[in-house]
Symmetry: C2
Subunit: 192 residues, 2 copies
Amino acid sequence: MNIDNPIASEIFEGLSFTNQEYHLIAAKFEQINLKKGEMLIHTKDIVYNQYYVHSGCLRAYFIDDSGKEHTVQFAIKDWWITDFTAFFTTSKALMNIECIQDAIVYKISQNNTEHLYVEIPKIETYIRKKMEKRFAAFQKRILSSLSQSAKERYKSFLNTYPGIERNVKNYHIASYLGITAESLSRIRKEFT
Amino acid sequence: MNIDNPIASEIFEGLSFTNQEYHLIAAKFEQINLKKGEMLIHTKDIVYNQYYVHSGCLRAYFIDDSGKEHTVQFAIKDWWITDFTAFFTTSKALMNIECIQDAIVYKISQNNTEHLYVEIPKIETYIRKKMEKRFAAFQKRILSSLSQSAKERYKSFLNTYPGIERNVKNYHIASYLGITAESLSRIRKEFT
DNA sequence: CGGTCTCTTGACGGAGTTCAAAGCTAGTGG
DNA sequence: CCACTAGCTTTGAACTCCGTCAAGAGACCG
């Protein structure tokens, strides 16, 4: 951990940088403190930024035509969050992102992300590898939604986000699993 | 289209290369011709390679504990396919990949992929951007499995893979949508 | 301590599954 | 080129899991 630039050391853990590089990195991130309930992204916002989660918890959710919420992702420490579809194409968000436990996040814009990749190529490699892992995790989630019952998906969820029950409302978890809060309640009853 | 190296021009469409770079690229890919029914990857194989689809059609599927098949991905022209989870970590495949229409694919190993990224950094950038698109597409698929009925998912599927009905068995599509072949049959009946 | 948000419980309904059988279709060999 | 067969698709009937609606119990916060 480099005391001069804890942000760079935290976000790109394992990489080492020159002082000049630390400078380049630090200049591109902005710290944002969020209170529970605050919104980071609203539907229809143009998405210029992505966010690295230092602490706290956020969730990305989608509201369908019938008004129902569907949680696509939770983000806890060391996760990145944004509406990636909108971010990658700098277009309008289809999702909302809200803070569900007081959080500190580091914001970086799309432009600055691309600049960083050019200025410090090992960051592009680092992020690519991280994305490969996320990619694999997504594939796993699709598999689980195809092949598992609600009860099994709930078990998998507890493994993916250990200890998250303490931070997150059950109806948020239900909307992540693709079931209703009532069904989750019945599943939880069977568990004990 | 560079006549000296059609493979590089096809796979990295839009990028231009020096003759030396064309050489580097061509040396890393190997063309494989597949007949319908051939398997590219079996469960438990160590996955060293990924494949760029030049023509034909393949599918990646998972067999769950009860023996049921679940199609995770179809790949047609200009898609990449492999068991990405296993490929990124050079570990054992959980999925099977089979050819469902005679195909020509270009194979590249994990090592050669990494070498290519180092030797020609713009390829790393190119692939990263492509992956960002896939990432967004995955997110969309998760959303659709959470928020849409089987009938709506079938419509989305037809948009994602236009014209694929001609190549693919209905029970493969059903297993991609997460429903039974019987249910898909009933849905299709309503459509006409 | 009162009000609102969250979780639980019950009764009913519907989308999709399962199992079984019949109808098609495409590929193979005579 | 036709006939046969194996694989694929359709159809029907009963069943199951989960959703919906509604009401009550509990928890948290000012």
